[in-house]
């Protein structure tokens, strides 16, 4: 089953030359920082100039996680003195000392500058428990996903290094079936909702959550990962290396009804709770998924076969959305691409594909990059965010993409966007109505009566030249299928209105004029 496949993000391709437009992923230092800083008892010291700190930990985090700034991330604040003369160690030591004094487990994360000048962290207390750990983030070559994966593995490898503070009692080994959730760190799109849904599913089948790692854990909880019966990996981009090392059965977060059902059954088997799993699935069908079945049985789903979508996102979401929306719901996927790691599609390829798709996708899932393409290319498509980069608030936990709730939520999103598209394309929107400039008797008087010259009349059916017809057909074909009636109506009405004001024939120039006015469609 596809949910068991694991998709490893490779190191960003490092050819001798490359060009980047509208980058879609952060660097290795950011990924490592986001992973370590997620642990509650940790302080991350970024060894680099101030920009390496304020960009990821202050400016960006506020628009990915809606957190004003990460309080447990500091920086050695390298300046030209450290870089060229003094070396970075004194500045770094000062920040490390300050963080350690608070009793926090310190992680020193390298940045491009520190890596370039060969700065590292070597002290005499190496090997002593609880002392600061240095992590080479390979920030020039590793992307954020590779780096998160390495950081989590690094934590596991150092699991005996971390110190449980005095007075904090270690929890007893779980008596009931329990599961680790490996995945969310800062900067993971929609992670709050997806985590909540995963917890709900686990509770539903009678499994306890052992550790949510690293998002709801302390560094000293790391060894406890071994106490569970299985590990759920939220993402295919990272976390699998850790999960594999822990050695328990590994499952990946599922998308859609079919995958979620298989996921629950697989987990049930691994934990020996098959009966609870079946009872939960049966209950879900009449509760959470009653909404799903109702929407499916409604006329809403009739549009699906003619509502093409495009998906541009990292592998977990891109593949998951494609399997669910394309495979299970039957929405045609007019284009899809990864925007991360070695398989990332170049921005220009994405632009060309979205621009040239005919019909244009009704809906484009993506990041700010795709949102810009929709605006710049004046596409009639709606945009829905499914990936970073791009400022968004996703802290309420009611917008999951995974699991049964995610299946319902995404179905709702698609339908709402469908309605939105319908509204934008309603053929009539005159308020108030056009004014009557003459009484009926005068309309009669001025009407040409018998049409002697083909099509030169006041009456409603005007002659369209072949070129005009051709351009009109081409334009209409770009519109999503289910609004073609409205688009055709609009185009015809506007073109004929112009033609009536002129010589009564709809020619190419008239249609060109209308199409130019029309194209934005929003």
């Amino acid at each position: 089953m596809s949910f068991k496949q694991e998709l490893k993000s490779d190191i960003v391709n490092t050819p001798i030359r490359k060009r980047v437009t509208d980058l879609d992923h952060a660097g290795g230092d950011t990924g490592a920082m986001q992973a370590f800083a997620s642990l509650r008892d940790v302080n991350v010291v970024l060894d680099g100039p101030v920009g390496c700190h304020v960009m990821p930990a202050v400016a960006v985090i506020n628009y990915t996680d809606s957190i004003p700034y990460l309080q447990n991330v500091t920086c050695s604040e390298l300046s030209e003195n450290e870089v060229t003369i003094a070396g970075t160690l004194p500045a770094l030591k000062e920040k490390v000392a300050r963080a350690s004094a608070q009793g926090r487990q310190v992680f020193i994360v390298s940045t491009p500058v520190s890596e370039l000048i060969g700065a590292a962290w070597t002290t005499l207390d190496e090997g002593v428990k609880g002392t600061p750990l240095f992590f080479n983030s390979e920030s020039l070559d590793a992307d954020e996903w590779v780096s998160r994966d390495r950081a989590l593995l690094f934590l596991w490898q150092n699991r005996d290094h971390f110190v449980r503070p005095e007075g904090v009692v270690a929890p007893a080994k779980p008596a009931r079936p329990s599961v680790n959730i490996v995945g969310p760190t800062y900067g993971c799109f929609n992670s709050y909702s997806d985590l909540a849904e995963m917890k709900r599913l686990l509770a539903g089948i009678g499994a306890d959550v052992n550790v949510v790692y690293p998002f709801e854990a302390n560094s000293y909880d790391t060894p406890r990962l071994a106490d569970a019966g299985a590990t759920v990996c939220m993402y295919r981009e990272f976390g699998a290396s850790l999960a594999r090392e822990v050695g328990l059965p590994v499952f990946f977060a599922p998308f859609g009804l079919e995958e979620t059902t298989a996921f629950l059954r697989g987990l049930g088997e691994a934990l020996g709770v098959q009966a609870q799993v079946e009872a939960f699935i049966a209950l879900e069908k009449t509760t959470t998924l009653a909404a799903w079945q109702d929407i499916w049985r409604s006329t809403h789903s009739d549009f699906f076969a003619n509502a093409p979508i495009a998906i541009v996102a990292p592998p977990t979401y891109k593949d998951g959305l494609e399997r669910y929306l394309g495979g299970e719901l039957g929405l045609p996927i007019s284009y899809s691409a990864y925007r991360t790691g070695a398989e990332s599609a170049p921005s220009e390829a994405v632009r060309a594909a979205l621009r040239d798709a005919s019909p244009s996708p009704m809906l484009i899932f993506g990041s700010i990059n795709e949102r810009m393409i929709v605006a710049q290319e004046k596409l009639p498509s709606r945009f829905y965010q499914a990936s970073f980069p791009g400022a968004v608030v996703r802290r309420a936990i009611g917008t999951p993409f995974i699991g049964y709730s995610g299946a319902v939520w995404l179905l709702q999103v698609v339908c709402e966007i469908l309605f939105d598209t319908l509204f934008a394309n309603l053929p009539t929107s005159y308020a108030p109505a056009q004014r009557a400039d003459k009484p009926t008797a005068q309309i009669m008087q001025e009407a040409p009566g018998v049409v002697t010259q083909a099509g030169k009349g006041q009456n409603s059916v005007l002659v369209w030249t072949d070129e005009a017809k051709e351009l009109s057909e081409r334009t209409v074909k770009r519109a999503p299928f289910f609004v073609r009636v409205s688009v055709t109506k609009k185009l015809r009405a506007e073109a004929e209105k112009l033609a009536r004001e002129r010589d009564g024939t709809v020619d190419l120039s008239i249609v060109e004029e209308i199409v130019a006015k029309f194209a934005p469609g929003r």
Partner: protein, 433 residues
């Protein structure tokens, strides 16, 4: 949906009309505005408020009259249709006391008591009929064909192109977006009701303006050929030219339909637009088995020829059909695809049968000539092809092989299918699934 909405939607689509709806209460008005803003237009729907006291004291009419004057003076639309729904038509309002014109604005009463209108189709007929009644007498010199009936927006252009090749043209098309489209009807020399429910309008035009009519539409192989021939004959055009064009268009349809064979598939079609007669024609010509057509349209002279054609091709027409019958039939016979009303489609989906809602997916889609045939058949084929998806979902929600009924578990089983079987409608006895 309330039958009266068929009229309100067409009037709201007129760019130079501002309809006033005399609702039967806020529940009624809420429903009409809700669907109007979803399907029709983002524009306000005007209505005098109503309450039991206002009805009793007759102030609804005072309010209506004030609104008519206000709208006419402020906005001067070409047309203010007064849509009178159930309660106002039952109470009786002195509509004759309203002015017929204010400035350039025509004020037209459109009687729409839903309890006697019954269907959307009938309501649409009432609109055309009410507006046609207001027209001045027909001109003496006239030419061209008046198309009557909602079609895909580019269809009139396509029809015009074909008609010009046989020596005539489209004069106007209603329901249209402008009052002038209706006024232009007096210039035409032939009415062509494209759907078989504009019987009152056509009768009125015949009575008042002396206009002959041809029924049917250029849909499907036979339909395209005969419609062109009928128009040629009615207007006494050159028979050789007419025959050549009719045959050419027919052959194009034959070629287009060959791409979408539906042989061996059984369809259930239940419509309420009148348009369903034409759709079934296409399905049958593409090889499908359509044991019966269920329509909410009442039997009328315009449908007679269509009905005869369908009967000849193994399809029984059930007028003013009952939803319970359809549900029963659905349970009983393994249909491959359902095109019908919302509840019928919902039920089909519960059973894992591919289904599409008539209004959203089918109505006002192009059906005409070769392009129309391939357009609609490709949609149907793509729907049928997702059978496996429908089946899988139905299985997921079923318990022990019994579909999870959320809506129609009360529906009676049997009747209709047994009846049809007895009449050999399916050819072979249906096996229980």
């Amino acid at each position: 949906m309330c039958p009266a909405f068929g009229a309100i939607r067409n009037l709201l689509r007129m760019e130079d009309a501002m309809p006033i709806v005399i609702s039967s209460g806020d529940g009624c008005m809420y429903g009409h505005t809700f669907v109007a803003h979803f399907y029709v237009a983002n524009r306000p729907v005007f209505s005098p408020g109503v309450s039991s006291e206002m009805w009793a004291k007759g102030t609804v009419f005072d309010e209506l009259k004030a609104m008519v004057y206000e709208i006419a003076e402020k906005h001067a639309p070409s047309l203010i249709p007064i849509c009178s729904l159930c309660v106002s038509d039952t109470v009786g309002m002195p509509f004759e006391l309203l002015p017929k014109q204010i400035g350039n604005t025509e004020i037209v009463y459109v009687p729409l008591p839903a309890y006697s209108v019954h269907t959307h189709a009938r309501a649409k007929d009432i609109v055309v009929d009410s507006l046609v009644w207001r027209l001045p007498p027909q001109r003496k010199a006239r030419s061209g064909v008046n198309l009557i009936g909602e079609v895909f927006p580019s269809d009139p252009i396509k029809i015009d192109e074909v008609l010009r090749r046989i020596g005539t043209h489209v004069n106007t098309h209603v329901p249209g977006p402008r009052w002038a489209d209706y006024v232009a009807m007096v210039d035409g020399s032939l009415n062509a009701p494209l759907h078989p429910f504009y019987s009152d309008s056509v009768k009125r035009m015949k009575m008042k303006q002396g206009l002959p009519f041809v029924d049917g539409a250029p849909v499907g192989i036979d339909g395209t050929y005969h419609w062109i021939k009928d128009v040629g004959e009615a207007l006494k055009l050159d028979p050789a030219v007419v025959e050549a064009v009719a045959a050419e268009e027919r052959d194009k349809v034959v070629r287009a339909m060959a791409d979408y064979p539906l042989k061996g598939l059984t369809f259930m079609v239940a419509g309420y637009e009148g348009h369903e007669f034409l759709l079934v024609r296409l399905l049958i010509e593409a090889g499908a088995n359509v044991p019966y057509l269920s329509t909410s349209v009442n039997t009328n002279p315009l449908a007679r020829e269509e009905e005869a054609w369908l009967k000849e091709h193994g399809c029984t027409v059930l007028y003013t059909a009952n939803f319970d019958d359809e549900i029963g039939a659905l349970e009983d016979h393994p249909y491959d695809c359902v095109i019908g009303t919302t509840p019928l489609c919902a039920h089909a989906k519960e059973l894992g049968i591919p289904a599409i809602y008539y209004t959203n997916a089918m109505a006002t889609r192009s059906l005409m000539f070769a392009e129309g045939a391939s357009d609609i058949l490709s949609l149907i084929v793509s729907t049928y092809r997702s059978k496996e998806r429908y089946d899988k979902i139905a299985r997921f929600f079923s318990a022990d092989g019994v579909p999870r009924r959320t809506y129609s578990s009360w529906a009676p089983t049997i009747d209709l299918t047994q009846h049809l079987l007895a009449n050999d409608a399916f050819g072979q006895p249906a096996a229980k699934p």
